[in-house]
């Protein structure tokens, strides 16, 4: 992985060395954050007043908050005044063809099985008009529109569907929920908005790929997904290609709302730049993700594969308010080299007959430090609640760390809560057995690790599952231990 990240780094750096071919207005704000900056952001986006008010309220609250330091991760202090909170779309040098792309980078793309079109898009190669992602997205948007499904950028939704945004924004993650959510609420850049009308089963997997204007995910993404009564949707976020960004802090907020009888499946594959071999320069992925099962018989599933970022700090959670509602969390989190992760979930049971399932698979390699932090909270009102949690850690080598911080709070005696945990390493016997059958050690490790993650991968939509397996293989390169 070292040579690959070096190559990516030099590729990105060279992008800036060549200078810009820019047909975009070049005004970004100066670094710094104050109320004026928040106003200007809102103005630049042409937002209606309610949005500006919301941002300001959040910002004022943020000023009163202090940055939390309780997770099991370490990073140097963040200077919030050093960031640029509004930047014009990133200028990219347009390359003539894929042949001009660094062969090492292409090798990574090939290893991850990324299609040629996607490779072109990711490398900034000019794409044929017919294959332009914008027109592909338009076709899908039309099909979705016929069913009344709204799927657009968050900025667009604020202008075109303000009533929906006003109704649901902040109802799952209020602006004052936590330090990073407050910051995000004040300065969020863009994100996705999705609304599925009553009784509609979204006919395709929604992917951020299909959003027009995907010039790379922003620093402070804001996503809101509402599934009305009896509807269902499967949403995919992220991609397996290593993503680089000059902005180090990524503090996104994702809110999911499932009304009566609705189902939301939210899958994430994340491979943000993890930093160099000393862990310097990697992305900090501090995310607040929460789902609300508002209606009876509603269901929200989170599935995540986190292999990138220098630091991953997120707890996709579900609030089980509706009776008979179901929350699920499936996660594979890998820390290699010097990555750190403190991730897990919170399942809050409030309604009756609610159930939740947690399967967390941590893999630590190199000098990575991986912590699972989970909370299962059964409130007094939650009669007959059920929870099953399984958190497993796999250690590769002897310099990595795995930690588990499970919290279980039960206030109703009819609850049934099960928790299982295991820690293991790949046995030398197992590797030798594979060797003796002709399988090389790195391939053996990949097979065994993929077997370990199977329980989580099977919840990913098919294409993502295949990509995730390859991604794990690439991320584990050089981790033989």
């Amino acid at each position: 992985m070292d040579s690959t990240t070096d190559t990516i780094e030099s590729f990105v750096n060279s992008e800036y060395k060549y200078g810009f071919v820019s047909d975009i207005e070049t005004d970004s704000f100066a670094p710094g954050l104050n109320e004026d900056v928040v106003r200007r952001i809102s103005l630049k986006k042409g937002e209606p007043d309610f949005m500006l008010d919301w941002r300001l309220k959040a910002f004022r609250h943020w000023l009163t908050m202090t940055e939390p330091h309780w997770p099991n991760v370490h990073y140097p202090p963040i200077d919030y005044q050093a960031y640029i909170y509004y930047a014009a779309a990133k200028p990219r040098k347009k390359l003539g063809s894929l042949d001009e792309v660094d062969p090492e980078l292409r090798k990574t793309f090939d290893k991850l099985g990324i299609s040629l079109d996607e490779q072109k898009r990711l490398s900034g190669v000019a794409v044929d008009a017919i294959l332009d992602s914008a027109s592909v997205a338009t076709t899908f948007k039309e099909e979705l529109g016929r069913q009344g499904i709204i799927f657009c950028s968050f900025n667009e939704a604020v202008k075109e569907h303000p009533e929906l945004v006003r109704k649901y924004l902040g109802t799952v993650v209020p602006a004052n929920d936590n330090f990073f959510a407050a910051l995000n609420s004040a300065v969020f850049s863009d994100g996705s908005f999705c609304y599925i009308p009553k009784g509609v089963r979204c006919p395709m997997e929604l992917s951020t790929y299909f959003r027009i204007n995907t010039a790379g995910a922003g620093q402070f993404e804001r996503t809101l997904l509402v599934a009305d009564e009896g509807s269902s949707v499967s949403y995919l976020e992220g991609c397996t290609a290593p993503m680089r960004d000059t902005n180090q802090l990524h503090a996104a907020v994702v809110e999911l709302i499932a009304l009566e009888g609705a189902t939301i499946k939210y899958s994430t594959v994340q491979n943000w730049y993890p930093g160099d071999k000393d862990g310097k320069g990697g992305i900090y992925n501090f995310v607040t993700k929460r789902g609300k099962c508002a209606g009876r018989h509603s269901r929200i599933s989170w599935t995540q594969v986190e292999t990138g970022s220098a630091i991953t700090w997120k707890y996709p959670s579900v609030m089980l308010l509706g009776d008979d509602s179901v929350g699920e969390f499936y996660s594979v989190a890998l820390t290699n080299h010097r990555q750190q992760a403190d991730t897990g979930t919170k399942m809050v049971h409030a309604g009756k007959n609610t159930s939740s399932t947690i399967v967390s698979k941590g893999i630590s390699a190199g000098q990575g430090n991986n912590s699972y932090r989970g909370q299962v909270k059964i409130l007094k009102s939650a009669a007959n609640a059920r929870n099953y949690s399984q958190c497993d850690s796999l250690l590769l080598g002897d310099r990595c760390g795995a930690h588990t911080f499970p919290y279980i709070e039960v206030r109703n005696s009819t609850a049934k809560v099960e928790h299982e945990a295991s820690t293991s390493k790949i046995g030398e016997d197992q590797i030798f057995y594979c060797n003796q059958r002709g399988i090389a050690t790195q391939d053996a490790i990949n097979m065994i690790v993929n077997g370990y993650c199977k329980e989580v991968f099977k919840h990913l939509p098919m294409e993502f599952a295949v990509e995730a397996q390859k991604l794990l293989g690439v991320s584990l390169e050089g981790s033989v231990g």
Binding site: G427, D429, Q430, F432, Y433, C434, N435, Q436, R437, G438, I439, A440, T441, D443, M447, I448, N450, G451, Y452, K454
Partner: protein, 254 residues
């Protein structure tokens, strides 16, 4: 096919194999017998390339190539197969995918085209019949939840699929009842060809009733002290190993 010359090997500084010499030709079945601790399993592990064992002297040629210089997976791809005495479980890794990956590595090394899923499954069907192996076992993880007998049969099944040049059976009979033994031995016999060879490591003569060896060696104190035909095995069954101790002590040769 296999030429072992003055092989010396040990573990954690303790010498186990001491000037072991052995020659195996294509088409032959050799049996290696000996008391506990004589180094039988060590020989198997050293040939397979287990890094725990240190080779301190001697050489091993496998079809003319320097075996000791090869990594374990390369030895396997060159056609060396070890049926483990205690096959390990690999949870989460599907048996069929595992074997397909292994076979394709060997085929690649031989310059053959890899098999796709359909072709591989057809091959599997053919071979499971050979060993009376329940195909349902193959949908499970490698050796997971297999009984002792099933594990041993799985080893021979893998051998049937991989078609090695030299198969080393490390105490394949341990833990097997008579019926399982007959099936395993039957499988091994069906796989015999003039261009492959088998090294059967065993304690007891019983297995050799079913897998009839061409040559029997006795390994004691780290070296081969006696070599003979299949009657030698019967003699050992009757007399035990003690009568050979003198020969071993005086650095005897067959």
């Amino acid at each position: 096919m296999l030429e072992i010359r003055d092989l010396c090997a040990g573990v954690e500084g303790n010498p186990i194999l001491q000037n072991l010499n052995l020659r195996v030709k294509a088409g032959e079945v050799h049996a290696i017998m000996g008391p506990n601790g004589s180094g039988k399993s060590t020989l198997a592990q050293v040939l397979a390339g287990r890094s725990d064992y240190e080779v301190t002297g001697g050489s091993v040629l496998f079809n003319g190539a320097d075996l000791l210089a090869m990594k374990p997976e390369d030895r396997a791809r060159a056609g060396l197969f070890l049926a483990f005495q205690y096959p390990v479980e690999i949870p989460g890794v599907n048996s069929t995918s595992f074997l397909k990956a292994a076979l394709n590595e060997c085929r690649k090394a031989r310059g053959q085209e890899e098999l796709d899923a359909v072709e591989f499954l057809a091959l599997v069907k053919e071979k499971t019949k050979l060993l009376d192996l329940d195909p349902a076992l193959l949908s499970r993880s490698v050796n997971e939840g297999f009984s002792g007998g099933e594990k041993k049969r799985n080893e021979i099944f893998q051998m049937a699929v991989l078609e090695p040049r030299l198969a080393i059976l490390d105490e394949t009979d341990s833990g097997l009842d008579i019926d399982a033994l007959k099936i395993v031995a039957g499988g091994v016999n069906k796989l015999r060809r003039p261009d492959n060879a088998t090294l059967v490591i065993t304690h007891y003569q019983r297995l050799l009733n079913y897998i009839v060896p061409d040559i029997v060696h006795v390994l004691m104190e780290g070296r081969i002290v006696k070599t003979g035909g299949k009657e030698l095995a019967l003699e050992l069954e009757e007399r035990g190993y003690d009568w050979l101790l003198e020969t071993a002590a005086s650095n005897g040769k067959p």
